[in-house]
Amino acid sequence: MPDLPANVSDPASTTVSDSDQSHRYKRLFKRFVLLTLVCSVVPLLLVGWVISHRYQRSAETRIMTAFRNEVQHHRKVIQLFLKEHRAKLELIAQTHDRQDLVQPGRLRTVFDLFNQEHWNVTDLGVIDGEGRHLAYVGPYDLLDKNYRTTHWFGQVMEKGIFISDMFMGFRREPHFIIAVKGNDAAGPWILRATVDTEAFRALVENVMIGRTGEVFLVNPQGVYQTTSRYSGRIMENAAIKVGDIHPGIQVRQEAADAGFNGERTVRQIVATAWLETPQWMLVVRQDYDEAFATENRANYSVLIFLLISAVTILGATVLVTRHMLNLVKRRDAKAETLNRQLMQASKMASIGELSVGVAHEINNPLAIISTEREILLDACQRVDHLDSAFGAQLDDSLNQIDVQIQRCKRITHNLLRFSRRTQSVIDTVDINAFISEIVDLMEREAKSSGITFFERLSPEVPPILSDISQLQQVFLNLITNAIDAHEGKQYGSVAISTTYLEADETVEIVVSDTGSGMSGEVLSKVFDPFFTTKPTGRGTGLGLSICYSIIKGLGGRIQVKSVVDQGTDFIIRLPVRSSDAKTATRDHVIPVEQAA
């Protein structure tokens, strides 16, 4: 017998193989999951990142532009305020002379007109070329003050107009002035207005840019010209770095200086713009996170969506991969089974072929031995005087030779039957014609046994798809058994009937005999391999077992009913279409019945 493959015959090898297989499936699982993730999650994240990045950039540009516009607008407002006041003062200085303005009540009228719509100017004063106050309207007592030595006085006298930085002056509180120079017959004179600090601060500071935004002015020396919301008060030195004077508006992101916002010191957006006159730097700042709050929320949403998508894909991947792997495992197992069956079938076919050869080769010499025995028997009969003891021994020996020849014949015939069982060819079988042929054949065998054969074949039986060779084996077996069951009886009958069961799409064939029947005990083992009631040497106990496996293999079922001393019925049902029935009856238990 050829060696079986290691994974079939050797349990230890099988265990190792299973372990390898398990590792292989694990590797396959990891590879599937990884591949699916690379092919799905990575592009998803990439696309998500690109979209998010593009959106962020676009949002940044939009927000920065809005910030820039805000600052530009605010600078314009402040400059307009200063220009308006300067223009008013210039107008007064050009349309009035000092004599006119120093007349009692005249400056008050101008002052009232100045503040008619908004309270923007704290006081108004007329100063001569020597720095003396000629007239003054305001809350302070400054008429006796001389400004000849002050910085602003010199600047006005030199340039004709001057807007000061914030300074404390005689009144000891932060303020700034706008002063213009006038000329009359008596020489130059100055009209000076002090801008109301609170009004100016309100104009500058009260621009609400979110919860964390602040607006303030610093001079080139870095001194606050208005109060910062978070960083410092007016006239204090500012923490912000004042760079060179630049045209236009600069917007940048930078780390927030300590104390900005009072809460967070992470990042801030800073926009700076310089006023023309005076040269103050307008600063607008806002916490970066607040400015980008909407965009950040959108980003978080995208991130969460991506995360959920990735987790879902991961979960689905694991589930699908597991399912696929189970399919692969089942398919592998099926392939393995088929492979083993194929190998087994191939092995059996080889044994079958070998059996046919061996059986034939043995039958021929057996036939010669048999003829030699017959010749010896003939020769003995021709001898007149034979020693009685020798004659008896010769008879015994010749009989024993015959017994052993018959034994060998049964063995070779079983081998031939086995070989036929290994080859299965499904084809259309006309059951009635088939039964007639078998009966015809067996009638010749049983001619001398006193057994009559009856056929009751239904014309409605359709052709079926089956293996005629295997069916021959089954019915030859059953009919041989039916004939053998009459041993000891002089007469008997074997009846074979066919019926078409349309509802089940099956053909029922019943082989009935009038033989000795079987007891319940025998009946329960009748399909067991190696179970036989025949004397030793006459039956192998494989016939009905082979019948059972053949009928089962052909998708049919076999039942047996028997009554002791009355006879036995073998009932076989075969599907009209073999493949359908195979599936349907795979798990059926084939019952063995004993009639009461």
């Binding site: 059986a359 034939h360 010669i368 003829t371 042929e437 054949l441 021959q472």
Partner: protein, 152 residues
């Protein structure tokens, strides 16, 4: 029937020789040949009542030989005696017109029984044929002259 002529066809020389001895001892007149071709030649040259034919032989096998025998249109009956024991080939042989079949090894008594059955069949066929011919002679004497050219 004592004196029946038997043609034994088998590639086993010893087997055919032994069968010859046994059948001759029982009153038959047997001739042994060891191939299908020899069997056909023998049948063309000589009349036999029964042919005992093996199925598995080198050259022309038993079934082919049987077909050729049938082509000769003789009353001779063919009995299959084979060591191959294949039911398919036995059924095929019966379909092709073999009288019966036996598997090797068999007892001489079984073979004799089958030979007797075959001889009876052949004899019945022959008698029936003769009766038919006589009937035709009676009905149409002119046309029936050629019918008696050869009888077996």
């Amino acid at each position: 029937m004592i004196g029946s002529k038997i043609l034994l066809v088998d590639d086993e020389v010893i087997f055919t020789r032994n069968m010859e001895t046994l059948l001759d001892a029982r009153g038959y007149r047997s001739t042994a040949v060891n191939s299908g071709a020899e069997a056909i030649r023998a049948l063309q040259n000589e009349d036999f009542d029964v042919v005992v034919l093996d199925l598995k032989m080198p050259g022309m096998d038993g079934l082919t030989t049987l077909k050729e025998i049938k082509k000769l249109g003789l009353f001779t009956q063919t009995l299959i005696l084979t060591g191959h024991g294949s039911i398919d080939s036995a059924l095929e042989a019966i379909k092709l017109g073999a009288y019966d079949y036996l598997t090797k090894p068999c007892q001489i008594s079984e073979l004799v029984e089958k030979i007797e059955g075959a001889w009876e069949t052949k004899d019945e066929l022959r008698k029936k044929d003769i009766e038919e011919k006589i009937q035709r002679v009676v009905e149409s004497p002119r046309d029936a002259k050629h019918l008696f050219v050869r009888t077996t």
